[in-house]
């Protein structure tokens, strides 16, 4: 017996500390997760269901709304996440400069969007970008545009608006991770490279990026999981419109449950697409992260 092992009495006590959490996690995460998997093979409306085999998964292939939702979600993912991560990296390497004045002020300002709830900021953005809203007024006064842009009703602009909104809300959040990562890097490395004549870009490319790699990987996976579940913003800014051009997978699941006749089986099948995407993308990102070591 080694000295780390605990006595029987202590062992039982230890489980007592853990059991309440376990009961809750099993009831509200693991059991439902497995339940959803079985439900995804059921067809029918509301509680009148029967075993339908792979029918729901076959329906996915021909469902044009699902394809739109999948396309939009992936589109938001591949455009928004890289833009945001790069922006957060650039800001944090600027803010890491100890000689910079007003560092705290800049940091607080850029982090501030994180205090808003997703619904609250979505409503603010919806108002700012309304037809007669502030942004159109500003752009027209600056003579950038002649007529107001239909941010909420034009497919392309609605998508751009969603991307702008998410980037506004989450860039500061990611920046904080990079800043705390950068603070653990010894300043003398940067000073030495400055003396050696490295440019700001070289320092960023060959020092900051490699040193922050584990954190970049973590935030990328985090943002990927978040974006794949995007709901609050599209629901509150565009309601998924116009004509489903901004609908996300989560919102489609919500619609399947509450907007139409509830189809639990099909909604569960759609939700498993997100599960598979998260597992696959996280796996790829971890592999890519390892390879460049």
């Amino acid at each position: 017996m080694n000295k780390h092992s605990v006595s029987n009495r202590l062992n039982r006590r230890a489980w007592l500390f853990i059991v309440p959490s376990l009961v809750l996690l099993v009831s509200f995460v693991f059991y439902p997760m497995i339940q959803a998997f079985f439900t995804s093979f059921q067809t029918g409306i509301a509680n009148n269901t029967e075993f339908g085999g792979l029918a729901n998964y076959q329906r996915l292939i021909t469902d044009s709304t699902f394809k739109k939702a999948l396309f939009n979600t992936v589109l938001f993912l591949i455009i928004q996440v890289p833009v945001m991560i790069l922006l957060a990296l650039i800001i944090s390497s600027m803010l890491n400069n100890k000689k910079l004045k007003c560092r705290g002020l800049f940091r607080t300002a850029i982090f501030l969007p994180c205090v808003t709830s997703l619904v609250a900021y979505s409503i603010i953005f919806k108002s700012l970008f309304a037809n007669d809203g502030f942004i159109n007024g500003l752009l027209m006064n600056l003579h950038v545009i002649g007529e107001p842009i239909n941010w909420l009703t034009n497919a392309t602009f609605a998508r751009i608006l969603i991307i702008i909104a998410i980037t506004w809300r989450w860039t500061g959040y990611n920046m904080i991770f990079y800043l705390s990562g950068l603070q653990s890097i010894d300043d003398s490395i940067y000073e030495a490279s400055s003396i050696d004549g490295a440019s700001a870009f070289q320092k960023f490319r060959y020092m900051t990026l490699p040193l922050l790699k584990p954190i970049i990987l973590f935030t990328t996976i985090n943002s990927t999981i978040g974006t794949l579940q995007l709901f609050d913003e599209t629901m509150n800014i565009t309601q998924g419109g116009p004509a489903n051009t901004t609908i996300t997978i989560s919102q489609y699941i919500y619609n399947l449950l509450f907007k139409y006749q509830p189809n639990f089986g099909y909604a569960a099948a759609v939700s498993y697409v997100i599960v598979v995407l998260i597992v696959v993308l996280s796996f790829i990102q971890m592999k890519v992260g390892d390879r460049n070591e």
Binding site: L22, Q35, I176, A268
Partner: protein, 281 residues
């Protein structure tokens, strides 16, 4: 300093200033809008008005039950946070202090739940909670109950992980000494560990309260009746109206954002620590 690096230096300030303005502007605009009439907001006024009290009066007088929603949100956030601090921290503490092979294995399964998207739980949870409504002892967490929103957020993998990480800094000698003094294991946790780990708890409180206060999707599913609605649900309903009263909506948004903004400015350090999942000291 060379000419080129001086230009870069100036450019840095310009970029950071522009980004800061973009970050702050929606807050500024929200406050301006809350103090003005809806028509003036639409006209693009940029000066604080004198219509705030009128907007508040309209908001309270409307049939939105804003005050009820505020009360619901507050009760849910406070009770969730209090319960989560006891339940999740106990688990995180035990995983670290009473290390064993079996518990480490259970811990890695707990971590797996972080990967589970809420979208995948929406369907089964809705059905599960609707069953609770028919079971007398579980009715208090059935659909449309405040309990249904609380119970789901009490134990989270994130919090358990967060407490386990921070427990690594907790001096083991304190536990040994307390055992010699004859304190039981639960007493050690409540009387020694909890007070010692104040800064960890502060960060966890901030992040849990925030998450609960801002939660939208599960309350949207679980709370269907008007008098149970939380603030995000009411604000969302206001935003989707066809004839939006911007002054009143922004007043509602300001009031809903106030608690989290105050917490942010008072406890900025813990706020950041809780968000990034790390606390030093």
């Amino acid at each position: 300093m060379s000419k080129k690096s001086r230009v870069m230096n100036v450019l840095q300030y310009v970029v950071l200033t522009i980004l800061s303005i973009i970050s702050i502007f929606p807050f500024f605009w929200m406050i301006i809008a809350a103090t003005n009439k809806s028509v003036d907001v639409t006209k693009g006024t940029m000066v604080p008005g004198t219509y705030l009290l009128e907007n508040i009066k309209n908001l309270m007088g409307s049939d939105l039950q804003y005050l009820t929603a505020f009360k619901n949100s507050l009760i849910i956030a406070v009770v969730t946070t209090a319960l989560a601090m006891v339940v999740s921290s106990a688990a995180g503490y035990a995983f670290e202090v009473y290390k064993s092979k079996a518990r480490d294995r259970v811990f890695s399964i707990v971590l797996l739940s972080m990967m589970v998207p809420f979208a995948a739980l929406m369907v089964p949870l809705f059905r599960l909670f609707s069953k609770f409504n028919n079971i007398p002892v579980l009715k208090w967490i059935g659909l449309n109950s405040t309990g249904s929103v609380i119970i789901i957020a009490v134990a989270t993998a994130f919090l358990i992980f967060f407490f386990r990480q921070n427990t690594k800094t907790f001096p083991r000698e304190l536990i040994e000494a307390s055992r010699i003094d004859g304190l039981g294991e639960f007493k050690i946790f409540t009387k020694i560990y909890m007070p010692t780990m104040k800064s960890t708890y502060a960060a966890a409180v901030v992040v849990t309260f925030m998450a609960s206060w801002n939660n939208y999707l599960w309350p949207l599913i679980a709370l269907q009746s008007e008098e149970k609605r939380t603030l995000p649900l009411v604000i969302s309903a206001m935003g989707s109206s066809y004839t939006p009263d911007y002054g009143m909506i922004m007043t509602a948004v300001v009031i809903a954002t106030l608690p989290t903004a105050i917490i942010f400015f008072i406890m900025q350090k813990q706020f950041v620590a809780g968000m990034t999942g790390s606390v030093k000291g």
